[in-house]
Symmetry: C2
Subunit: 393 residues, 2 copies
């Protein structure tokens, strides 16, 4: 009687959510300090003080106007601030009318997928990948084409990629720094990707848009650089969110940027906005449009994530775990110590380590460690990781 | 190259938006005080002081936790507060797990339409109607079936309604108090609607869900009553928003209530939640989940809308306009003084009166007056309405 796809989506509990719920039950049994929950990507550092101060100031100074509808694409001044900030950082010359403010990263992606997707279109995604991509792409009536992981470095398997591109390819999605691998795509990777997309666009006679999903853009470790992708490939559409950079995941605030360099950029922008309308996104929350745009040059104290990585990676390697070096975000994606990552995740639970199996991210044989946790929890978890490794000897 | 439906939705400017933009240009020419803009349904009274005070208090007292993800259906305590509030008012016994907190009324409707719609399904809507219903229903892959207006009282043309119901009817949408007519459905209307739906559900062997879109529930004038619809028809799904009751349209906060009385209520709820997931609604904004649920027994000072109505309706009738008595909301929907409501709206612009043609609401021969404006603007506008009427003599 109801839509069966939606029923399935609303009924199926994600593996991540199941682990998290298990962790809460287990914590009640053995104490929260004895459960090492690495399941959720919830920022562990608070937003900058200035974010809350700005919110309070606006509520005090503009109590009557701050809660009004904004235009559907977002407040003009807020969009201008986003443009100014990127222009300062990347030497670009974006304008306010290239920004469409959204209810967070998921909304950014949904508006772009729905705005672009025509019947028969394919969207290419690289494993390991954020599993909701599939939900969003299929919700837009398109097909997701998954490229198997390049497991040595979690860059791109270009042979598999080239073979997967066809006349049906509407778009390719990248996410760097990556969830779940923590890896940053190198400039070389992005330049080669750009060259292939340019050639294939020419071969098929239509642009293949690159969708750059960048919620982790600001979380980058020393020695790594995240190139500004639209400068490497002109047909890049940027999806951003302040969930991670300002630790505001619950407030749902992000944007889509359609640079003028994008082929048919005004049509793409209009289609994104039309999709927002069709999906019921009237406008992004008005108070936080102002707050995030006034604070968009700030970040939370993100250094903790690099400290956690620097503690975790060498220790795990010492124990025999194979870890690709993370360059940002707050995830590590080591190989499981047996081929079946589901079984490995189950075994880890015996040591009260909650690790998400990689299969759900399109990369079996791995587990995701979300280390956006207090550093002392990592320190206390290391003996558990050691015991888990020893159990395989 | 882009999705043509989305391009159309993003390119087409709504008549309302065009009038509003015209008003801004005209105001620059003749002064804002000389333009009588009745185009937009933006609340004219501020939110209660307590709303902003509550937001400030939470930002001060819980600066670290308030911005975290909530569960997809919304914070448990917030949902419990919504349930408690309705239970106090209507003597019901709703529970938190029947509420799905949304990013406003449009999101509520989109989640319900997408959760329910199966291929071939039809959703019945009564004219005059909020035009985005069509966008949302078609976005869910279903068909909107429009019942012509019953223009004497803007209740329901039951003959047309009964003739329109078929085995394909999944659901019927009501909106009382109504945008654009301002009319409240009488208990008699709703009881007859319920009787027909009960009979038709039995005849076709499946429930026909009633979707009650209630953003204007609290804006009801003396002498009128808005019955609690789930008590009249058990298969009612309620879509609510705080945009009007708390004057928070920009913050995007509402809910879907699936009472236990609804057939297959847990499946319906799961499908609504699944639709929210597919559409990219991760959770409703976290700060305002708390603020609205802590303030959900309050309203803005809504009395101004009734004062405006009491000023406007008799004056317009005196001038010869035919107005159905509004019972709530902040709209009046008089007949245009010539059959072509587009031409009438154009003529009104000559008197700097901005009135939205009724054709877009499925009721040609009428115009919508959104009187959510300062009362003195109505007083100053009355001579203009008089001159407009005189121009037809």
């Amino acid at each position: 009687m109801v839509n069966q796809r939606m029923l399935g989506l609303g009924t199926a509990r994600s593996v991540i959510r199941e682990l998290f719920e298990y962790g809460k039950i287990r914590a009640a049994q053995v104490g929260a300090e004895n459960v090492f929950d690495f399941s959720l990507g919830n920022p562990s550092v608070p937003c900058p003080q200035e974010v809350n101060d700005t919110a309070v100031r606006i509520l005090r100074e503009q109590p009557e106007v701050i809660h009004c509808y904004t235009s559907a694409q977002g407040d003009q001044e807020a969009r201008q601030r986003f443009a100014d900030s990127l222009n300062r950082r990347f030497g670009t010359c974006y304008t306010a009318d290239q920004f469409y403010i959204t209810v967070g990263a998921a909304a950014s992606l949904c508006c772009v997928f729905n705005g672009l997707a025509c019947p028969g279109d394919e969207f290419v995604v690289f494993a390991p990948y954020f599993p909701e991509y599939k939900v969003f792409i299929e919700g837009a009536g398109a097909k997701m084409v998954l490229i198997p992981p390049e497991i040595e470095g979690f860059q791109i398997d270009f042979d598999a990629f080239e073979a997967a591109i066809s006349e049906h390819t509407k778009s390719v999605v990248v996410n760097s720094p990556n969830n779940p691998s923590g890896v940053v795509y190198s400039r070389e990777t992005l330049e080669r990707l750009s060259a292939i997309l340019t050639e294939k666009s020419r071969a098929y006679g239509h642009p293949i848009y690159l969708i750059s999903d960048e919620p982790y853009r600001e979380i980058v470790f020393s020695g790594f650089q995240v190139p500004w992708i639209p400068q490497l490939y002109p047909d890049t559409i940027v999806c951003y969110s302040f969930s991670k950079s300002l630790s505001l995941p619950g407030e749902r605030l992000g944007y889509v940027l359609v640079p003028a360099s994008v082929t048919d950029s005004r049509e793409v922008y209009a289609a994104v906005a039309g999709a927002g309308r069709s999906l019921g996104y009237v406008n992004a929350p008005s108070l936080f449009q102002q707050v995030t745009s006034l604070c968009c040059d700030l970040t939370s104290d993100l250094a903790v994530y690099e400290r956690n990585a620097k503690l975790l990676v060498p220790a795990l390697r010492e124990m025999g775990y194979h870890c690709v070096e993370p360059g940002g975000a707050f995830y590590l994606f080591p190989r499981s110590l047996e081929p079946d990552d589901m079984a490995f995740s189950e075994r880890a639970k015996q040591f009260d380590l909650l690790l998400v199996p990689g299969s759900g991210f399109g990369a079996p044989g791995h587990v995701r460690i979300a280390y956006c946790v207090q550093t002392d929890m990592i320190q206390r978890a290391l003996p558990k990781f050691k015991a888990l490794a020893d159990s395989y000897r």
